[in-house]
Every structure is written in C-alpha cells, then in structure tokens.
C-alpha cells in the first residue's frame, strides 16, 4: 500500500477510557498503519506544533553551543562555583537528567517483568527519552572538569605514565555506571526497534527509505525462530536492566553518600535517589506523552489508563521520596551529630537557600498529593501540570542536596554562598534544548510506539474477547 492512504485507513481516534490500553476497532493492520503513519506522513503534514517546538529547542541548542564555547575558552570560572561550593548547576543537572533517564528502562524492563499491559504503548519513547536524557547528563561530568580535554584520563587505558584511574572514587564508579547504562539503554532500545524496522522497511514507499530501514532491520523476517531467540534475549535484557537501573542511581547517589559532607553523608541516599529518579522519570514521560498523543491523535493508543497508571506510579514514588526526606531529617536529629543536625537547620531556615527547600517540599510532596483524587488523575491538564511541577521539584531537590550542603560544612570560617551566572543557566537550558530537539526528531523519524508489541496487545485483546463470548 502507498503511504498516502494510511491516514485514511487509521481508525477514528477516540479515547477508550481508563480501563482500556487500546481503542476499539483496532486490528493488526490499523495499529501498524497508525503508528507507522506518523513516520510516513509527508513532511509538510507534520503537525505545526512539532515545527514550533523543534524551532525553540533548536534555539536552545545554539545557546548551549555558545555557552560551552565560552566555557572552554575561559574555564569553569564562568560559572558561579567557588570554594566552598565547588559543584553547582553542572552536577545538579547531571543528577537531574540521569534521574529522568530512569523511567525508560524502568518501564521497559521492570514493567515487562511485572507483565503490565499498559507498559506497551509508552515504553518505546520512554526508552528514547532515557537515551537522550542520559546523553544530556553525560555532557556535564565532562563540561564541569577544570581541564575537560583530559576527560579521557578517567578511562582505564594503558598509557606512558603507567597511571590508571582510582577505582575507590565514586566518580570512577559513575564513569562505569553511566556509560554502561547508556550502552545498555541503547541496545535495549535498538533491539526493540529491529522488528519495527522490518515493518517500516516493508511499508516504506520510496527505495531510499526501504534501503535505510532495510539496513537497520538487518534482514529481520519475523520468523518463528527469530522471535523465539529474540524474546529470550529481550527478556534477559530486561532482567539485567532492572538491577542496572537500580544500581545506576545508587552509584550516582554514592557521589554524595560516600563523601563526608553533612547532608551528603547519608546511607538512605541510594534507595531514595532511585525512587526520586523514577518519580522524575515518570513525570517527564507524562510531560512528553501528553502533548504528543494530542498532536498525533494517539489517544486510542496512549489511553487514559496509561496516564492514570503513570500518575499512580508518580504518587507512589513521590511518597517514597517523601519518606526519604523525613527519614533524612529524622536521622540527622536522632544521630545527635552536631554537623548533621546543623546541615538540616541550614537547609530549612538558617542558610541562604532555605526557600529552595520549602519550594521543593511543595513541588515534590504537597502538590502531587492531589493525585489521590481520581478526578485529578482523570484530568489530562491537571496531570500534565503536576508532572511539570514534579520536574521542577526534583531539580530543586538536587540543588538543595548539592549546593545547600556545600555552603556550610564543618569549619565556619570557610562558609560561603553560590550565585549561578548566566552561563550556568544557558548550559542548563541548552541541554533541555538538546533533549527536546532529539525527542522531536525521534518522534518524527522512528516509530514512537512499539508496533509489534501493539499487535501483541491486539492479539491478547482478541483472545480475551474470544473468551468473553
């Protein structure tokens, strides 16, 4: 069939409501066409929002380019960092992005193992989101180096100095954890795409597209043998990624937990960083999914059920995070450690950044409680706003942990403040631009929903239907 008549074939888009993961009247063909249609839509028929969105994102990318050039020319001094606050936005953003990067693999892997049917139509692009978020995160550890051109010294490679990285340092753990996570996320994402590449290959109208998708599909032909091995490999990947996803943010939290700084030196960090990561991850998935399903009329594939489930996950992880905050503060008081206690006094009212702490509590704990109400969960705009709020809150959480703790540590004489500069902000916004730009390109260029898995959903749907009558 030709690309043109695909839109016509795609069924009327209406949301089947909170208990269905797919709209009615879909068969193998229609899901294929509807999802594939997004990619094969003629360029000019791309929704205008996409163009506008991409344009904005691209401007931010250029902002990043300028900021980074200036950074490399002058040195990290262009940022607001100093002694004692030697880590500023760079690390805050790094942790924030990594956190966001957790939803993808989590949805794909853990929900797969948990056999959650609502995972299917969101896993693909949350995986993509993961990739891009990790890409953004990955920039910062390099950018924030005093001598970024020597970043490769953090890799273990034989050299004429006979020197090696120092594997007791959490930063080296980071190197391994983040690079592993990036690689595995990519593999996972790409593996998931192979059968869909085949689909695209077979649907593609023009030979160029055929060739490209053909190469990417590597000759996948949907043979039962392929499927058997494929599913096994995919299951194993999921099984491996699950502990990985947990380990990565634990390792990131070690950057702080291993240090002695009051406010960093806390054993509860790993679990609550992971929870926080999932929290922010789902928030970001929602932030992206809600507009996209709207623009491409995918309400029948990304249904209210998806949105509600994700809201629930947000609520849950949000509560874990809340517990984390509470326990952190409690332990600080209970430990009786003078410095630990002061770290929290400082965080909550003594220090110059007390307000960030309370905004973060508002964003991460208070506001999300609205999600208890089904009416809120059912209202797409409300969920969208809450998701945004949580994104902000989670960024502030990292700010409070990284910066506020550093401003006042042990010896009062060396206490100091941190004031971000325009370059701090440009770099941060710049990476948001990179993230969105990549996201837009992905949605336009690749099947943003796993087609073959949707077919499975259809299949299961029919099976249960058959059972029904």
């Amino acid at each position: 069939m030709k690309p043109e008549d695909q839109e016509s074939t795609s069924v009327a888009t209406l949301d089947p409501g909170p208990d269905k993961v797919i709209g009615p009247g879909h068969d193998y063909g229609t899901v294929t066409d509807e999802i594939g249609g997004v990619v094969f839509r003629p360029f000019l028929k791309t929704p205008p929002q996409m163009f506008i969105g991409f344009a904005c994102a691209f401007l931010l990318v250029n902002l990043l380019m300028i900021a980074v050039t200036w950074l490399f020319v002058r040195g990290v001094g262009v940022w607001g960092i100093a002694i004692p606050v030697a880590w500023g936005f760079a690390i805050v953003n790094f942790v924030w992005w990594i956190g966001i990067g957790h939803a993808g693999t989590l949805i794909s892997a853990i929900l797969l193992l948990l056999k959650q049917d609502w995972r299917t139509s969101i896993n693909r692009f949350s995986e993509a989101m993961t990739l891009f978020a990790v890409a953004c995160a990955g920039m910062f550890p390099i950018l924030h180096l005093g001598r970024p051109w020597l970043a490769y010294w953090l890799l273990p490679y034989p050299n004429t100095m006979w020197l090696w990285p120092q594997p007791r340092s959490p930063l080296i753990w980071d190197v391994f954890a983040v690079s592993t996570y990036a690689t595995v996320s990519f593999i996972f994402w790409f593996t998931g795409l192979i059968p869909d590449f085949a689909t695209m290959r077979d649907k593609a109208g023009n030979p160029v597209a055929q060739k490209i998708f053909g190469m990417l599909a590597m000759g996948w032909r949907n043979s039962a043998r392929h499927w058997a091995r494929y599913q096994k490999a995919y299951l194993l990947l999921a099984g491996l990624s699950t502990p990985l996803v947990v380990s990565v943010h634990s390792v990131v939290s070690f950057d702080f937990a291993v240090a002695i700084l009051p406010g960093w030196h806390t054993t509860i960090f790993p679990p609550y960083f992971v929870a926080g990561a999932i929290y922010s991850g789902f928030a970001m998935v929602l932030t992206l999914a809600i507009p996209v399903r709207r623009w491409y009329h995918l309400e029948d594939l990304i249904t209210m059920r998806h949105i509600e489930c994700m809201s629930k996950v947000m609520l849950g992880t949000g509560l874990i995070v809340a517990y984390g905050y509470a326990m952190e503060a409690f332990m600080a008081w209970y430990s009786g450690g003078q410095y630990e206690r002061y770290a929290f006094v400082n965080r909550m009212w003594a220090g110059g950044y007390w307000w960030t702490y309370w905004i973060l509590i508002l964003c991460n704990i208070v506001i999300p409680q609205l999600l208890w109400s089904r009416r809120v969960r059912m209202s797409v705009p409300a969920v969208f706003v809450i998701a945004l709020v949580v994104n902000v809150g989670m960024w502030l959480e990292r700010f409070v942990i990284v910066v506020t703790s550093l401003t006042r540590d042990f010896v009062p004489s060396s206490w100091g403040m941190y004031y971000p500069t325009v370059w701090d902000w440009s770099t941060y916004l710049g990476t948001i631009g990179v993230f969105l730009a990549l996201m837009f390109l992905f949605i336009r260029g690749l099947p943003a929903i796993s087609i073959f898995e949707m077919r499975e959903v259809v299949h299961e749907g029919e099976a249960t239907h058959a059972h029904g009558d």
């Binding site: 004429t160 100095m161 006979w162 020197l163 077979d202 055929q210 053909g214 000759g219």
Partner: protein, 216 residues
Amino acid sequence: MAQIFHRSSNSLAKVTIVAMLLIVGVVVLAAYKINAGSFITDVDVAPGQPVPFSHKHHVGDDGIDCRYCHTSVETSSFAGIPPTETCMGCHSQIWANAELLEPVRASLRTGKSLEWARVHDLPDFVYFNHSIHINKGIGCSTCHGRVDQMPLTYKVNTLYMQWCIGCHRNPAQFVRPRDQVFNIAYQYPDNQLELGIRLVKEYKIQSLTDCVTCHR
C-alpha cells in the same frame, strides 16, 4: 515486494562488520606506535645546534671527562652547560680560526650567549636532580647513552614517565659502582642484578615512586 538487497549483500554485511572491527584495532595500534615513535619522542633525532658540537670528538676521541663541561652535575639538579669561556679555553689555542667555531668566538666577543637546543627536555612540571642520581651510582650513559659515539647529540630514551618509573621501582637493574658513573663505555656485568642489589644496599638507595619525588 521484490528483494530490496542483492544476494551478495548478505556476505557483504558480514564482511563489513569484520572490517570495522579490524579498522578500529589498527587505528588504536597505530596511535600507540606513533606515540612511542621518534616523531613524538624525538628519540634518535639530533636537533639543529648553533655549533655542530660533537660529543664523539670531545668525549670519544679527546677523552674529556663529562664534568669538565657539565661542572655542576655532582652538586646541583642541573648538570650545567659550559659557558662560552670554557669552550674558548681550548679553542683560543686549537681551531682558533675554524669557520665552524665562529658563533662561539662571536659569543665571547659580543657577550651574547650561545643558544643551544635542549636535547633532553623534561616537561616543566617534572623536577629532576642530577646530583642525587650521580651520587647514588646511576651512570651518565644509563640515561644519555653512548654520547661518545654521537657526532651530534640525540636522546636515546623517551624520558616518558614509565621509563623513569621503570628504574625507580627497581634501581638494582641500573646502578653501577660510584667510580664507574662517568665511564661512558661502562658495560653492565652479567651478574648485574646481584651486583645491583648489593649496591642498592650499600648506597642506601630507596626506590622512590611517590609523586612528589618528581612533581611539586
């Protein structure tokens, strides 16, 4: 649909994969080779000098002792490059008018120093001390090679950190009796290791691999 790819593309695809891996390997290997080669290290490369000074002639043929010119090698971190006077000490008598030596005479006339190109040049963040090595029985030729056979001076060792560490970890391989330090033609005996171990004890040589031994 008809086939998108030709039959041959199957083998082509597989070959490509193998080729890729090979290329990566080759590139890495090349990088290491180049880094160890004299293009980077200047080993065996004699830089141009204002005067084509020949250690071969002065040391090999005339048998002048290292310390005659490198006076501070036993006392200072810097071995010392002879002032023009020292050259002219002899060359006011012999080769007094040699065309070759004009720059030297000019230097003495004008009081403007000769500008020699450094052959053994450590990075500025490396602090090397000649005197202590000499005093601990490390011979000139151990690092500088047989300068008595060099018409133009070049370096024989990379001076890479791994090269320094190699000796610092196990000095016994290279120490020689103190009286042999300036013997440019010194041959290590076959029992070097046991001799070395003895000398290390005798000279109280420590194997210093602390960073601050060289970097501060």
